[in-house]
Symmetry: C2
């Protein structure tokens, strides 16, 4: 998949971009969490089986990172991306489990030109991660800064 957007002006307010799918193996989940979030329900299959989750679930930071990868691969234009100041309302409403294929969707909430820097602007977007039954497992709303199309 190549990105459908190159510059700020190409983000279409109200449009939802389908960014493809990801799946995390139990080994990947345990490896990530051993490094960054070593809680028993992320790294210890026996403890996870006894927990409220009934088995290994991914660290929420792993899920966010996996969704980010699809945003970079399939949407964020590398030539014009200027980074992100932050995220609002990151939610993990349901666990992410091994070997399940999740869909990632990106919706443009608004596109705003910078008042102080005429060559750039901000995109406010919501990234949703959805399981095969259509249940939302992660959602976050954030801002990205992008250059405008060069003039002339």
């Amino acid at each position: 998949m190549s990105s459908p957007v190159d510059y700020l002006e190409d983000f279409r307010t109200g449009h939802t971009y389908d960014l493809g799918t990801f799946s995390l193996s139990q080994d990947e989940i345990i490896e990530f969490a051993t490094r960054f979030d070593p809680q028993p329900f992320h790294i210890d299959p026996a403890a996870a089986a006894r927990s409220q989750y009934g088995g290994i679930i991914a660290s929420g930071w792993h899920t966010a990172s996996a969704a980010m990868r699809l945003m970079v691969d399939n949407l964020i234009p590398l030539e014009s991306s200027l980074g992100s100041p932050g995220i609002d309302r990151l939610r993990w409403p349901a666990p992410v489990r091994p070997d399940v294929t999740y869909d990632v969707r990106y919706t443009v909430n608004s596109v705003t030109e910078s008042k102080s820097k005429p060559d750039r602007g901000a995109v406010n977007s919501t990234t949703d991660v959805v399981d095969p039954d259509g249940n939302l497992v992660m959602s976050f709303t954030g801002v990205g800064f992008y250059r405008k199309r060069p003039v002339g």
Copy 2:
């Protein structure tokens, strides 16, 4: 460092817990971002040097994950932690650069007992990551669910 809290009741509203420090090497930053956030200013030293950042900076998800590791190692009580429903107001006000030592601090905003489940409750907290000059480089406010101390 061992955790100063075991159960919900041990989180002290208004208290700031010092969770220690982390530092990310350029190799670690590039490795994480190659997997999850392969934008040029995270993975390509030459492109990063030409960017507004003047050099490689960490993916914001890497910074969040590094802070999470200190939260798990030095604060979150593994026996009583029940996971997190989400994060509000995640901010990356300044870049995180290789081989800089960052302090991580965790402040308890509120502790709320569950109305529906008498054995547990929620902690609302803010995690701040600060550079050696005292500048904030990341902050997020989130919720964690914890069991209450068993009765009897």
